[in-house]
Symmetry: C2
Subunit: 385 residues, 2 copies
């Protein structure tokens, strides 16, 4: 507890955009997020006063950071699971727990657990060599999807391969791998929920996520033309997974919609790109909800604030963008789209890097989507207006 | 400009709740508010990293603070006007300017200017002694309202007096005073607008403000049952005052609704309590808009996000409140009112002190108002639920 305010102190390991937006959500709760940053100029470290620079792979750094925190949580999956467990053993109030977090850190553990629980997944297996791959592909057909069991994100650590020969360099790398059937996808959805330590769950409307080169570029909330039964099924599935795995905080369940129904693609146990739209589009944002959940506060209303919300990621454009100044592009963006909400993460712009997002809200999907896309495109790529 | 992000740096003199909420609004714009705080534990200083502790009455402190700021603005009216002018003479980009700010600092200057411009005001005059008061009261009738020309807020510096004798202690104090007729008020309204340096104006819906002991306790947005013509007249009046006085940033025009129409009560040139509802209730909050205006960005949409928004201030309750822990009261508040949004300012609780506010939104005024009031009452006064 903060002795002055009588309110709790949450520590977040990692100081990227998720921590930045969580700090923003902490302010109205009377709090100030404590950060373990890799670098003093990480996006969240630029806007919050209580920053420790340290190494999330160092148990000593994590232990020192946790002192005085009422709860410790994470803005990424890369803290070694054994360190999370060690903090718990120390008596630190960590969310999610090591036992839950492992399912967002290791795809092999995640697939095994979900399959055992009867949660629909693509057919999959662990794979050691080319023979394993051939055996699996004989059953499900080529191409198949190879995935690094640990450490992948934004399309990194995923390879679609048409033969064992094509997979040879990945197999030779020694990275622990799983292989999955290549599911015939209609589209991708995400069911994002939060679960408190007490066990209360709350689900936001199910969204459609649009990927390009494995990176989420756009989120449509709610998922257009999703039948209510499937939407409810997706929410129920995410709430069940959260409860089964003992997740505390936000859980994002990335889903494939297929002709045969929904299958789970990935899990993330932290605020997630697929729910950035909730800042303006839901009564309670995922960032506020994550704080409530890890502090074991009752959860907030997830009701939408508008019929349609569209979020478009800002991915760094070319270096020779005109006008060159981001400040000048922000000026023109505000003039042309006074209703579009901007979120910049304090990052250096690099081609393809997630440096922010924009959100638009309204009644008509195509209008809202067109405005959000045009604003995002102009901010990153400039050009004539 | 911040060399790393390419985005502007705004400095705010004062680090109370207005600065705290402005920092919150700066984060998504890719910025971090720079603060000149009186104390290191001021509400905004607890949540922002770029804090200078100094004296807003010291020109040297103000000058040192302004170095590197793309714009300097204020969370209160107490910076000496001559210091604002001196900063301008230095070439600092100050908003509002000294010439505009004086109208929010000196009621005599404000009344003279508005009266000259034909803006409806209560009848008024400056007053030096009991004879002045008797002359004025002979014209408008007792009681009259004495006001300190400078430095009043939240009902302080205002005295309703029924005779010159009753006014004697105030008259004897030497404080420069004005006197106004006591207007027969139907209710109080506020028209809040923003104006950019370029001259763009934007108005939020006109609201009703409810006062208790001179302190705003509740804001209803939009003002219930206000005829559209009067609402438009109030917005036009506020935009005209902003343009006439050259205001940059947010301007709040406090109004009395009377049988004879609207009259202006007070002006404030900064984010204002009567527009805290815009954080959730409007597409662009007053805090974001203030930043846009002082940076001469185009202004954001002021469209409401719900038919009805009600804001209720949290005024510190008695010391023996039960449950004693504010954290415990927040728990119960969240459980009972999952849709009500909480804003705590990081202040020590003292009876009657503004320590936060809550906001509720919806379709039906009475339902929304009841929920916001009940949540605020419980947070401050505790009791059974």
């Amino acid at each position: 507890m903060d002795g002055r305010t009588g309110l709790p102190v949450v520590g977040m390991v990692g100081a990227g955009q998720l921590a930045r937006m969580t700090h923003q959500a902490a302010i109205p709760l009377g709090q100030s997020l404590r950060l373990l940053a890799e670098h003093a100029d990480d996006g969240a470290a630029l806007v919050a006063p209580d920053v420790v620079v340290g190494d999330y792979r160092s148990l000593a750094d994590l232990r020192a950071f946790a002192v005085g925190c009422d709860a410790v949580t994470f803005d990424h999956e890369h803290v070694p699971n054994e360190h999370i467990a060690a903090l718990e053993a120390d008596g630190v109030n960590v969310h999610p727990s090591a036992a839950a977090a492992i399912h967002a850190q290791d795809k092999s553990v995640m697939r095994r657990r979900l399959t055992e629980s009867g949660v629909p997944c693509p057919r999959w297996t662990t794979v050691g060599d080319a023979a394993d791959l051939d055996t699996f592909a004989a059953e499900v057909g080529w191409p198949v999807v190879l995935k690094a069991a640990r450490g992948g994100y934004d399309g990194k650590g995923v390879w679609v391969v048409g033969s064992a020969a094509e997979a040879a360099p990945v197999l030779a790398s020694g990275t622990p791998l799983i292989v999955e059937e290549k599911v015939a996808i209609r589209r991708e959805l995400a069911a994002v929920v939060a679960r408190s330590a007490f066990g209360q769950g709350a689900a936001w409307p199910v969204v459609e996520t649009v990927q390009r080169d494995g990176i989420c570029v756009e989120v449509l909330a709610p998922a257009p033309a999703l039948d209510p039964e499937t939407a409810e099924q997706a929410q129920a599935l995410a709430l069940r997974v959260a409860a089964d795995l003992g997740v505390t905080g936000v859980l994002a369940v990335e889903l494939f919609e297929t002709d045969a129904g929904l299958v789970v693609n990935e899990l993330a146990m932290r605020p997630h790109n697929s729910a950035h739209w909730t800042i303006e589009g839901a009564r309670t944002s995922q960032f506020e909800q994550h704080l409530r959940a890890v502090l074991d506060y009752p959860l907030g209303s997830t009701a939408p604030t508008a019929p349609v919300t569209v979020m478009v990621n800002l991915l760094g454009g070319p270096d020779d963008v005109e006008p060159k100044s981001i400040d000048e592009r922000v000026h023109h963006c505000f003039a042309h789209w006074p209703d579009v909400k901007l979120h910049l993460y304090g990052k250096q712009f690099r081609p393809g890097r997630k440096v922010g997002h924009v959100t638009a809200l309204g009644d008509d999907l195509e209008t809202v989507r067109a405005r959000a896309r045009a604003a995002a495109d102009y901010l990153m790529n400039g050009g004539a207006l």
